[in-house]
Symmetry: C2
């Protein structure tokens, strides 16, 4: 495994320094504890939107800090939750009289540490939990994992917060978009964790991991490597079984690369998924294709579908000005 | 080698269909011959800016079609030049009374086919040749390759064309920015070409290819895999020896991923390159970090430095509205 790095221990800090420097017009880096905060001042009374989680999923979450999305993001070490102190300090730094919404991917460590941060804070805080990965059943004992649908939740909640929506309504909006968002991933390979010096897992040449998590967690099944059309069908059916969209339903389709998959393949996957759902009457009216929630250098992708209504379309279309997602500004 | 595809022969067409559909607000796909054109109408008399080349480098060039950058892009098959017919038809489709600028990466096939297209066209056409890869000496018999610096040339020329700059001045501007742009790449691995079913080359575990081309061409040297700081130093020195920037010189730094390299690594590389040039007095005042000119799924990156002046900064900062580069709109 060859990776660009000086020392495993300093990789994240050096990288975050570069990130903040390259996007100095949009974000600022705070060290000890470490977080990225938006540079542009916010209006007094605006609810602060804060997220975070283990690093290695870039651009999630740091790439989504900025006007119309996150006010701060707390990057933990690679595949490791940020600490309660880190989260609470970030929240205090961006709280501006309107309280705080935490957007949290459903992993035990993240949930615990964000909950501890809530207890440390004196301002009102609401937590929106993202558990969009349909590879696990809804009744799974620790619930479903949060994966690329997190980007959609962050965009929608961030846009509404920017427009002045209050804390209680933002919590309701976040829960609403999280509930109508479903994702599933597929891995063609494992990913190389720098501290391990090698891949998290290996797959036989003729197998893929359907329902893989963004840390390489096992999914639904080790299935045959087959045509893109067949793989997309398996993924899209899993999502459709969960969301049960009605014909005519407007929807957002996100095709997310897990790290080492070419854009050429991602757009192929997009086309096949679009065709799948169009044949079932869905109105895919919003789209996003690219690397938004990665698993280091994993080869693979995920599909995310969000069922939309007029309110969600309005927030999705609202201006966003972040390093990784930018339109209308 | 596992890739998402149905058939090698249909991969590109299916992928382009998905690309055009996902970005239907910005671009349109023309088939037989194949090109991507911008959707937004242009003012009469605007010079049309057209580029193209082999596929496999996405988002280059298709991702840069739109307001403020390219009017059309002609994707050839993977690592294969577009045909003269394809290029000429695309140019005719977007020519609007001001003539056409072709932005061409310096590869024998591309140069020949764009030149043949010039002969086929009745409107005035100028060619801007990009040969930013400093891994080869300037006096190399077929000249230097065009690599990621192409993105900078397309952005600068596209912005000026949008603002109404005429054909002769655009040609001069394109030549100017191409002349003050230098790049060098490094590969940690080969890339997998779908039609080959495997990698273009393999590297020993302790070696990297310094000066690699975006099709996996050999570079300056097979060198030791060492620290990121040392690798960046070798790359940045090669660029500095070529451009010989003066202290205080404003510059744009582009850190480009070749496909399978994480953003975490790219931002680390950015930080190290920034420090290298800051210590030598350069004023890195504009930055771009991400996958902009890829070599399929190659692990590796390239550095590009463009020496700026007030004019180039103005065109760089101008609004751009394309699938892969967007700001100010």
């Amino acid at each position: 495994m060859k990776k660009f790095l000086n020392h495993v221990e300093t990789l994240l800090d050096e990288s975050l320094a570069g990130f903040a420097r390259a996007h100095a017009d949009l974000v600022e880096l705070h060290v000890k504890p470490c977080f990225i905060k938006r540079k542009q001042p916010t209006r007094s009374g605006k609810v602060a939107v804060v997220s975070g989680g283990g690093s290695g999923h870039e651009p999630l979450h740091i790439g989504f800090v900025g006007q119309g999305m996150l006010d701060a993001a707390c990057p933990g070490h690679i595949f490791t939750s940020p600490t309660p102190d880190q989260i609470a300090t970030a929240a205090e730094a961006v709280e501006n009289g309107g309280g705080v919404v935490f957007i949290v991917k459903n992993y035990a460590g993240d949930v615990m540490n964000f909950d501890l941060a809530v207890e440390m804070l004196e301002c009102p805080v609401k937590v929106v939990l993202v558990q969009d990965d349909v590879s696990l059943p809804k009744e799974h004992d620790i619930g479903r994992r949060g994966v690329a649908g997190t980007v959609v939740v962050e965009k929608i909640v961030g846009a509404a917060a920017e427009a002045g929506v209050d804390l209680a309504a933002l919590k309701a909006l976040g829960d609403k978009v999280a509930a109508c968002t479903a994702s599933i991933g597929v891995a063609l390979s494992g990913c190389n964790v720098p501290a391990l010096g090698g891949p998290t897992f290996t797959l036989p040449p003729d197998k893929i991991e359907l329902g893989v998590g963004i840390h390489g967690e096992h999914g639904r099944a080790l299935t045959d490597f087959t045509s893109a059309t067949e793989i997309v069908k398996q993924m899209a059916e899993a999502i459709s079984e969960d969301l049960k969209p009605e014909p005519g339903q407007p929807a957002l389709l996100l095709v997310n690369g897990l790290g080492a998959t070419t854009l050429m393949e991602l757009y192929l996957i997009y086309e096949l998924a679009y065709q799948f759902w169009r044949q079932r009457g869905l109105d895919i009216c919003r789209s996003l294709v690219g690397n938004y929630t990665t698993a280091l250098d994993m080869a693979g992708c995920s599909l995310t579908l969000t069922l939309l209504d007029e309110e969600l379309i309005r927030w999705w279309d609202a201006p966003v000005c972040t390093p990784a997602l930018r339109w209308g500004c």
